[in-house]
Structure formats: structure tokens, C-alpha cells
């Protein structure tokens, strides 16, 4: 299949190869969570809720001088094209989410700062899946954590990039993602310029890989500047409403 039109150079959904989908972030979407956010990348939509820092519920899990970060990731049954059947065994789901959870925790670990944090729970739910759910989840969690007032050394953002029709493509959607080409997901601490997540499930020559990764990094930076805009806007509104 031709994922990039040889005639116009546009992709299926009319984007240029290095163009991102429209992103939108909203803070404070849930009333009962300490921090919450909704993040959209094109048709991918993720909701994140953060609880804590709070007392560790299971005392045996407590770690000294370190926050216990738990993360639960789930996809709504209605998030994909075909409605998912009800799972037969619960165990499958738990291990799946535990696995994913640890991935997100690894992504964030480097950015948490502050000594007396106790337990932080992050709940991520994919409402609509259209490729790049992992990136969207990380971005949503960043927004929600910042909203919850949890001190972080830096903002983590994530973006994916792929390589199809000998062109590096930024921010793959579902059609491009399921084409079977390489898909590089990058998580980045933007200010420190450190990578926290790098994932690829296919082979790529080294020099092309660098290009693709660089493209994903640029995507991360663009998302970071948008996220900071959203956060700053939110902070300003809250302060102005509060009055002096």
C-alpha cells in the first residue's frame, strides 16, 4: 500500500510526513481526583486521574525516602473499532495492566522530586484508540500529575514516529501503525534533554533509525511546549479567579 502519496507527498489523512495530529489537553476534568486531565492526539483520547501523594495503603510496599508510584492502564471496551468482548479471566487483565503500569512508572521515575512523597496512584484510561495510545497516556499523565501539584524535575512528553514508504513519519495513526512497519515511541524529559522511554518493535538500519528517532524527539518537544502552555494558562486562570 502507498502510505505516502508519491504524487502529493501527503499521507492518508492529509498530513505531511513530519506533521503531527491535532493535540488538545484539558486539565481538571474530574472532580474527585487530586489531579486529572484529558489528552487528545487526533482521534486518540485518553483520560488520566492522579490520586495522592497519600498514605501508603499497603504498609509492606512502603519504601523509605521514595514515593511509591502505582499506575493502572486500561482500555475502554468501546475504544477500538470493534467493540471488545468481555474478557474471560480477570487475571489476564491484571497482569497486562501491571506490565503496562510498570512501563509508565519507569518513564516518570526520573522526573519525580521531593522527599516526603508517599503513594501516588495514576489511572489511565483510553477512551478512543487510534494509534499512539502509549504516547497519549504519558502526555495525559504528565498533565494530571502537574495538576495534582506533585513536584517534578521536568516535564515528560512522548511521541511516536514510524518509517513507511522510505519516509520517516511523525505520530502514526491506527492505519499507519498497523501497516507493520517500525514504530518508535520516545519519552523525553524535555528540559534536561534525557530520554526515558525508547521502544521499537521492528528492525531498522542504524542511520535511518537516528532520523526516525530525531523526528520523534522533535514531536516530543512540540508537545511539551503545548503542554506548558496549557499548564500556564490554567495556573493564571486559577490565580486570577482566586483574587488577592
Amino acid at each position: 500500500m502507498e502510505y505516502v502519496s508519491s504524487l502529493t507527498g501527503f499521507r492518508f489523512d492529509g498530513r505531511r510526513p513530519n506533521e503531527m495530529r491535532q493535540i488538545r489537553g484539558e486539565i481538571g476534568v474530574l472532580a474527585k481526583a487530586d489531579g486529572s486531565a484529558l489528552f487528545e492526539m487526533g482521534n486518540t483520547k485518553v483520560i488520566a486521574a492522579v490520586f495522592g501523594p497519600r498514605e501508603v495503603q499497603n504498609k509492606s510496599q512502603q519504601i523509605d525516602n521514595q514515593a511509591l508510584v502505582r499506575c493502572e492502564y486500561s482500555m475502554a471496551n468501546f475504544s477500538t473499532g470493534d467493540r471488545a468482548r468481555k474478557p474471560k479471566g480477570d487475571r489476564n487483565i491484571i497482569s497486562y495492566s501491571a506490565d503496562h503500569g510498570s512501563k509508565y512508572i519507569n518513564t516518570f521515575d526520573a522526573s519525580f522530586s521531593g522527599k516526603n512523597l508517599k503513594q501516588i496512584d495514576i489511572f489511565l484510561q483510553v477512551l478512543q484508540a487510534d494509534g499512539g495510545t502509549r504516547s497519549a497516556c504519558i502526555n495525559a499523565a504528565t498533565l494530571a500529575l502537574a495538576d495534582a501539584g506533585i513536584p517534578m524535575r521536568d516535564i515528560v512528553t512522548s511521541c511516536s514516529a514510524g518509517y513507511l514508504c522510505s519516509t520517516p513519519l511523525l505520530d502514526l495513526n491506527y492505519v499507519e501503525d498497523s501497516a507493520g512497519g517500525p514504530d518508535v515511541t520516545v519519552g523525553l524529559l524535555v528540559k534536561m534533554d534525557k530520554m526515558t522511554l525508547l521502544q521499537m518493535d521492528a528492525k531498522l538500519p542504524a542511520e535511518i533509525f537516528t532520523d526516525v528517532m530525531q523526528l520523534a524527539i522533535e514531536g516530543c518537544k512540540a508537545i511539551a511546549s503545548y503542554i506548558r502552555e496549557v499548564l500556564l494558562e490554567n495556573t493564571k486562570t486559577l490565580e486570577c479567579m482566586r483574587g488577592s
Binding site: E55, R153, K191, L231, R242, G243
Partner: protein
Amino acid sequence: MKELLISLNQTQKVRLQAALQHLAELASQVSSSNLAVTVADTIPVNNEDGILKGHGTTEFDGQVVATLCGIVERVNKLVYVRTLRARYKPEVGDIIVGRVIEIAPKRWRLEINFSQDAVLMLQSMNLPDGIQRRRTAVDELNMRSIFEENDVVCAEVRGFQHDGSLHLQARSQKYGKLERGQLLIIPAYLVKRRKQHFHHLEQYGLDLILGCNGFVWIGEHAEPIDSEVLEDRDKIPKDKQRDTPLEVRRNICRISNSVRLLSALGFALSVEAIVDTAEASKSSNVDIKDMLGAEFYVQTAEREVQRRASLLRKKRFV
């Protein structure tokens, strides 16, 4: 912010927009020095020597960097970030309202919207009989007669212990169990530290406690009771005890709806603002249940604009 789901019609939307616009303009006139930062923003310091980095800041590449979203505050050489939406950060002497979640040996554990549970020791509170003496094992067994689980309690922050736990104290008549009222939980940044956090609203017959931790208590006014009166009251059988009159209950609801409304709009809470809102609802014949409706929501925003504008004018006049 999303506590209230209000559907506004087109005119109301326009009016609310205009009001919010006004508020933004007023805020920019009042203080232009307020600097809002987000996570990983660099805080400009003019390379003066001896800057003290306070809460919400860290150093990266020789620059001061914020780790929180909030407003930069400077006190002499200290630079820190004041957070807005975050959990409560206790300071010694704060008056707080909390909920008992556990009874442990010689102590109660209280949920106070802090990152850990607060501890109220048996020895740091006045006994009901009011006598100063050592706490005995019998007292320890009778702890549940003072506070039970899920009781709402008012206390004062005593300080942090060596192990990092937060201790409270309730060594006065004004502290203790709160009954016959409503507890509202609002974001802690909306309550400002004042000299007075206990308020007796005489015209309503209510007590209002604005806990620094964002727990607001609205209850029937209770006179601080002497020990003799307390003993007399215990003799009265439970079912003979007086119920809260309907009028007071209505007042409780009206005041708590004003609190809900102000916190949904994100306005700082003060007694004056709460009472003003309640009075305005009364004078314009708004039902208690309609106070959380769209029309009164917009009206409250507009009234706040006027209030702040007049404050600003007064300031300029002086």
C-alpha cells in the same frame, strides 16, 4: 472546578465570559508582579548572591527551576513557588478540620487532605471532664467515647515529630468534635490563613469553621460548654435531646451552597464573601436549591467583579 455541572444558555454564557474577562483585567491591574510558572520553567533571579531556594524549586544548570505549577513568591532572599491546586501543606498553628479514620493506641488518625494522616494524641487534647491529669489506661479504653471513626474534629497543627508524622492538638474548648452540621471539602488554596477561622454567624445561628486544609464546617451554633453543663446533658436521655430546628437547617444549606458556589467559581473564601452570597440569594428570592443553578452562578461572578472593582477604586483613592 468541575464540582458543578452547569448548563448555561447563550446570554448567560456571554455574561459569564464578560465577567471573567473583567476579573482578568482587574487582576492584571492589581498586581503586575505576579509571575506564574509551570513545571521546568526557569525562575529569573538577577544573579544576586545568596538566593535561598524554597518549596517547589530546584537547581539545574546553575539556574533556579520550578518543579511545580504556581506563582513565584519572594520573601527577602527566599524564592519559592506557591502552588494552587495541590494538597494541603500544614503550618504550625493552622486550624484544621479533619475526619477520624482510625483509632490507634493512645491516638486518633485523622484525614486532613495532607500527603499523610495526621495524628491526634490522647495526651494532647483536653478530656471531657476538663481536669488536667495524667491519662490512664482507662482513658485509653474510653477513647471511642470521645471521638469515633468518621467523626468530624476540629484541631490545631502542633508540629512535625522527629519521625516525620504530623501531630495535632486540641487543648481548648473551641476544638473538638463537630456535630449537627455539614462538612464541605474544597481546594485548600481557596482558604487564606487569617487571624480568625472560627466564625459565629449570629444572624443565622450558625458556626462556620474555615479549616486551613480546605475542610469547611458549617453547623448549628454551639456554646462552649462547661463541664457541669456537660454532665447535666449526659443525664438527658438521647431521644429527649433537642433536634436542630428547621430554620437553622435551611440556613446551614444556604451557607454551604454559597461555599460550594464560590469554590466552583474558584474565588477565595472569606466570611464576608460567603455571607454576602447568602444574603444576595435571600434578597433576590433565590431558593436554596436554585443557588447552584446557572442564573445565580453568573450573578455571583458579576457581583464579584463589582466587589473587586470597588476595592481597587478605594485603593487608588487612598
